[in-house]
Amino acid sequence: MALEVTQVLLNAQAIEGTVRKQAEESLKQFQEQDLPLFLLSLSRELANEEKPVESRKLAGLILKNALDAKEQHRKSDLVQRWLALDPSAKTQIKMCLLQTLSSLVADARSTTSQVIAKVAGIELPQKQWPELIGSLLSNIHQLPPHVKQATLETLGYLCEEVSPEVVDQDHVNKILTAVVQGMNASEGSNEVRLAATQALYNALGFAQANFSNDMERDYIMRVVCEATLSPELKIRLAAFECLVAISSTYYDKLAPYIQDIFNITAKAVREDQEPVALQAIEFWSSVCDEEIDIMEDYGGDFTGDSDIPCFYFIKQALPALVPMLLETLLKQEEDQDQDEGAWNIAMAGGTCLCLVARTVGDDIVPLVMPFIEENITKPEWRQREAATYAFGSILEGPSADKLTPIVNVALTFMLSALTKDPNNQVKDTTAWTLGRIFEFLHGSTVDAPIITPANCQQTITVLLQSMKDVPNVAEKACGALYFLAQGYEDVGSSSPLAPFFQEIVQSLITVTHREDAGESRLRTAAYEALNEVVRCSTEETASMVLQLVPVIMIELHKTLEIQGLASDERERQSELQGLLCGCLQVIIQKLGSSESTKYVFLQYADQIMGLFLRVFACRSATVHEEAMLAIGALAYATGPEFAKYMPEFYKYLEMGLQNFEEYQICAVTVGVVGDISRALEDKILPYCDGIMTQLLRDLSSNQLHRSVKPPIFSCFGDIALAIGENFEKYLIYAMPMLQSAAEMSARTAGADDELTEYTNSLRNGILEAYSGIFQGFKNSPKTQLLIAYAPHILQFLDSIYMGKDMDDVVMKTAIGVLGDLADTLGSHAGSLIQQSMSSREFLNECLSSEDLLIKESAEWAKLAISRAISV
């Protein structure tokens, strides 16, 4: 077989499909039949200087893919297989790999670097291959440049693969020494210098100790700054990328260098080529990110805590930084607004300006205003656009007090520019700026309203007019309308938009019918605006929302009538169906939330459900997420009546629950099971076997995204509440799952914030399941079935209490479970409860909580316990 490998690898890249397929098939067979030999053959192929570069590259790629995968479960599977491989095979493979680093063929070296890093990523955490780093670095100074380059590249990939704790400090020091020496200006080879600079980018995370040492840090920073001045573009770019990484990883160490870095970045922004200039701007954006985070930790009142103090670099650099950024705004590209992927210096500068405004607040306003005033009326469109962009950029951050007087003056100007300016880019930015005005300075939280009875009509007229403009301008106008509507979210009984409701809705529907509505995501923006207008509408326009139902239904019906579409058309059809189902969902939720409108709306329920089922039928393998969400809202509105749709709907429900890959769909479907349980109550019983089987399967799957698991537990509770003691037969499956999840949540507590958040959502799901089960079994003769689980549940509550990292929601749910347990089990659990810590300290803490929801739950628990222990 080994002899044939080369040919098979070449065939696998053949243009002709049948040859390629056959080759892929035989590679697959080889891999399945004899994995060690397969990998060894590939590594030999890679190492063999006589083989064609194409077969060597593919051999390397397949090796890499045999060691790593994107999906977590496949990845861990591959890791296990490598670890289980015959040690002598592994030794031979590794020898081949190290040998290939000296190859004269650049592609072979580069692929090998990645493969070595993957092997290291598996083995170093297991304390295997300890000699790797030593042997890579042993005689790096004597190596020929191409080997040195490959070695540095390997070190870079290695740092990307393994976490800093598995590499000891001695090795870290050696890696950094090699890397920094490779970056030095005295290094003769540009390839080596580039590889070293790129390696540093990945090695920065390992350099914690070195950055704490002033001398070492000074040296590293000097080398990086020097590299930013290299005549080689790629090296300058890599060096700026290092600076960006340093600004976020070592923000607190930047102070001594910030002045020099400002000079370097300012020069790059003004003079260097665009890729470098973009990274130079990114440095300041990244510093803004850090300072915004720190100030959020401070919590505004400076009583909060942050591990890192704020150095106010942005505030200090402001007088020089802002003019530099304003200059970039004038370097727009023609038609950049029509290109979804566009990213240029003007956009990066504007984005950074937005971040600066959020970082420093009011201070930015006087620095930007002269630029706006000077440029906004200039005949050159670039100047008007830049001025408008600058204005739009500073609308978030500064206080309303500071901005409102300016915005009041500017609003009229903006409205007029949106209709009259001859340039599309200016209009685009003007509409965007209006949207930001409405987003940040309009709404019930703002004291002095920007939109008044005097200008409301004009504002709406201009926006609706703009929706007839070119797609990118019309899309921004829709976005502006979105925020205008959102500002009236809790306006009360009468909305200033009500008199225009009909006109707004008609204009938006007209936009969705535009032939060019597919460009610049215009159609999506129009439906999103429509959704928000409906959401924020008041009772006085309820009749018009009702009239919208058949309109959207007809639109959805039209998409279903078209047959025999090509695949790209089908994708567009599915997207449109998504928008329409989304819109119906919003309408259902709106009309369903008020008893008066709900019953009139329900006239349409049968027809709407029929349409949703047909949307599902359009696809074979997956369900449509938007249709699923809308069905949840419909079930909530219809109540028990929903039972009549179940026979037909059930298979899609099951399909949704089986969708591991698109976990959002699975999550949404789990939520819909909850809606249906509440709507149908015990009428859901005939479907429970299937649903529970699927939910249990979801829980035991390691393929399913973990965020779906907590809602599945909550869903157990919903089902138990709906079917009561009929939940009995699921207890033996559900309870052990809940128990092991509870134990897991106790173990994972106390790690990082993200994990704590997940742990709390998991706890909440488990607790909601318990509450539902206890309340479901209440008053049933089968309550005693639950007694056996009580000790564990009480222990779980105690462990949550002792963990001290629960959030308010968990606290409320947990103490509620204590009440439900006492309520349902009564005297059977009396002595158990009395022994538990939760019934005393935890309960007392909740009773004196400031949070009324917690207090309410606690009072319930107190009542239930006092009954349980008195009988």
Partner: protein, 472 residues
Amino acid sequence: MSPSSDLLRRPFKRPLLSDQQRRRDLSLKRQEQSRDSQLHARRVSSALLSLPLEPGASSTEYYSDLHLASEVASKILKGGLEGRKWFQKQLMLPEWMIDVPRRLPQDWFVLARPAGERCLVVSYGGTTVSRRRNGTVLHRFPSALSDGCCRTKAQPSCSILDCIFHEMDQTYYVIDMLCWRDYSLYDCTAEFRFFWLKSKLAETRVCDPPSYYHRYRFSLVPRYTCDLTALHTAYTGAVPYVKDGLMFYNKHAHYQPGITPLALVWKDQNCSKYVVDTNNEGKVPSHQQIVLELQRDGKVTTSDNPPVVFGCLGLDLIQKLGTLQSPYLLRFAIGDGGLTIVDGKLERADLHYLGKSNRARAFADSYSKIMFQSMVRGSSLKIDDLIAAISSSDDGANGPDVEMMDGKKALWKRSVWIVPHSIGSAHHLLLLMTFGSYYILRRIDTFEGANDLPLQPGTADIFFWYISRLLS
């Protein structure tokens, strides 16, 4: 290894505004709220049904055993007290009307309150239980309410009614509905609850004369939108029960447990025999007597949320009181110094300690009750004031009342705190339900024209509700 592709920022001008994510989030929020609301209803009904049972009349005897009680008995009692404390938080309690709310004829219902004990009637698990305001059981009986007697027991379901038991004709007069056949009405406006109450009671036999499976008769208390005619009818009109003042309900208010200014009670000598509080001998004491709760810090307060402080007890008095059962309720007389009100706020009260309160009392007086009683003794709010308020309110009926809206907004925020499970639809409170007549007429057209659309029972109800609103 090139980081630039991962680090690429999304330009601010193209935020990834995901309405889809918003839709997902709002769905999750709705699901979370329904779940909480469902659990809340289960807990309420469970607690209502299984509070310790003590026969109605013997409650005083029950409490008098306090000092002799064995350990077990004291635990039962503790359970009882806990239960009552918890229970009192479940009833919506009207404030006493000390000034006339704005937009009375637009936003309020009026009804003539039957004299008797306020109680919650719960039917569930084949029986019906009524509980007084303090949580003690009044009756346990079979009724024609859903799942209210063993004969009807088929599908477990729960109904909760807010009633006044009228001794003389042994009838439960229904004033509000909290839950009907498991359908929770907590989050519905008063206007809808009353509509539902009327149409649902009519569908059942609960208003029939008593029978073996239906021991007590239920009867609906008629209510009207509070215009001059309605006020006159409620005030002077004949009713089959003894009147005890008038009750006012804000049409847009949800059922909000605890004391609320969105339900009001008003009395005078003509429509109530019990205007001025009497003492145990049924006589009007020379000075107004009030019951206040003693807080840990020595302050004595009303039962409002937040409580209104009337004064502070000296340490010597607190020590003299010795150990008290929670809640620490004390009786005071208001001396000749009376109540000093500055800018609508209580500045000082001339309190004289009388003694501990009756043990059956579950909670202190509310601020509005004390103020109303105080006014009844002096310059009270007269029926003419109500009439005048209605007449003048007509002028402003067309324009939106800005101050009223502000007031409601403030209330809305408060109600969010007090009725947490109804956050999702709290905006109902703000809605003025101004479906125009245009819309109603349009609907009539549609219904008449579209014979193929079968009218479902629920729809018909709603439809006629609209019509009745239109005509009223």
